[in-house]
């Protein structure tokens, strides 16, 4: 891994893309990488782009890349675009790149498509590590495009500095506007396809809703920008709105990033604990015996949970070379 890190720092796109694959395939490397990466160059702005399937996320990103290439010609930019994996086969067709091929030969633009591999929340496991790799490669701005989200995929707002929620006319009435979820996460609401009928009404309904939204992810009131990616209108105004907001957030960025690092370690610890407990439960007969004891009233859920936690812990302490082979929590004393 160290070799890939050194080559990435020297600017090798090949090494960076291999390092990303490594993290994607082994998300457990991410917390370790984050803690060792404190002195790495960091991405200056992580811009989350989220919204329902088909609202035009990739097309808007394509236009925004062109905007930034003009105003910041010396910046290296990156896009990380997540699409869903099949729950049935694990396969995926990743098609966000199709809209961005105009930038494929621009050495200052790095685009990577990722499958979510069953991870819920709209992104992929290890995303923070992937962003650090892009920082190491010298990227100053990362567009983080989520899968086409439904209502509750809000993870992007905890990873991004600024979250843009994309909407388009024809995607639901005013009751959709007051539900909890994705709409609470937006710093900037982008109404795409604004040349179409219904854009004015959508904008008015959204304005009405946001007026009453008091929860603020980053402390600044949300704003609404109307664009059309197809007609290339409103994109400069959107870029300016994002830049203005980024400037106001600059002082908070260090705090936000280090809380992100803690968050990643936290998620990894929870995930690893879950795996270890699950390994105990999957031993033959264990679950059946637990269910029987609960059904007979010999034990309550809280007791069984404590037993499970301690056998998962004992399994690891007892045999450090094989943490996946835990001892049996249903030994004789439980049945007595």
């Amino acid at each position: 891994m160290q070799e890939l890190v050194d080559e990435t720092r020297a600017g090798s796109v090949r090494a960076a893309s291999r390092l990303i694959t490594l993290l994607e395939d082994n998300p457990s490397l991410v917390p370790q990488l984050l803690l060792r990466a404190r002195d790495w160059p960091q991405v200056e702005l992580i811009l989350g782009i989220t919204g329902a399937p088909g609202v035009g996320k990739s097309s808007v990103v394509d236009r925004l890349i062109a905007e930034w290439r003009v105003v910041r010609p010396d910046w290296r930019l990156a896009v990380v675009a997540v699409d869903p994996s099949s729950v049935f086969t694990g396969g995926a067709v990743l098609g966000d790149r199709v809209r961005m091929m105009a930038h494929a030969n621009d050495p200052q633009v790095f685009i990577r498509s990722l499958a979510n591999r069953g991870h819920l929340g709209g992104l992929t496991l290890g995303i923070r590590g992937i962003i650090r790799v892009l920082g190491l490669l010298g990227c100053r701005l990362v567009f983080l495009e989520t899968v086409g989200v439904g209502q509750s995929e809000v993870e992007v707002s905890s990873v991004s500095d600024i979250t843009a929620v994309l909407l388009a006319p024809g995607h639901g009435d005013s009751i959709q506007m007051i539900k909890a979820g994705v709409l609470e996460t937006g710093d900037i609401f982008v109404i795409n396809k604004s040349d179409r009928e219904g854009a004015e009404r959508l904008s008015a309904e959204l304005r009405g809703t946001l007026k009453f939204t008091t929860a603020r992810v980053h402390g600044l009131p949300p704003e609404i920008v109307k664009v059309s990616a197809a007609r290339n209108t409103g994109l400069s105004a959107l870029r300016e709105a994002i830049e203005a907001r980024a400037e106001k957030l600059a002082s908070n960025r260090a705090t936000m990033r280090s809380s992100g690092e803690r968050q990643e370690v936290r998620e990894f610890l929870l995930e690893a604990s879950r795996h270890r407990i699950s390994a105990v439960l999957e031993k033959p007969g264990v679950l059946e015996k637990l269910v029987e004891r609960l059904a007979r009233g010999d034990a309550d859920l809280a007791t069984v949970t404590s037993e499970l936690l301690s056998s998962a812990g004992r399994a690891y302490c007892g045999d450090r070379t094989d943490p996946t082979a835990p001892s049996d929590p249903t030994d004789e004393k439980h049945d007595s």
Binding site: V13, S17, R18, R97, R112
Partner: protein, 137 residues
Amino acid sequence: MGRGRILIAKPGLDGHDRGAKYVAHLLRDAGYEVIYTGIRRSPEQIVNSAIQEDVRLIGLSLLSGAHNVLFRRVVDLLREKGAEDIMVFGGGTIPPKDVPGLEAMGIRAVFTPGTPAEVILSTVSKLLGENRSAGAS
């Protein structure tokens, strides 16, 4: 974990993408992660995308007759960029007499019209080094 990442691309000027999309879908259902890049791409765009996406395999679909020139360009560019470990296969309306020439330039497999899906899948699997025990060379 995915079974492997594959880029499906259409170089050249024909817009007939049914075959490319069919193969993308086929590979998806077999558990691969497929990056699809759309129609009318240049060899440069295809190779740059393949490197950024860190794929192990590129599938080129072409129905315009320019395969001898464009497939070679993709293979040459991969070599120039130090990415010759990324393997290339091709498909489309390619006359059988051209296949040996394409294979000689380093195209690992060529699927002409009528190739059964199973042949595509078993070839891809072999190229990616799966089923080693089954005796793939």
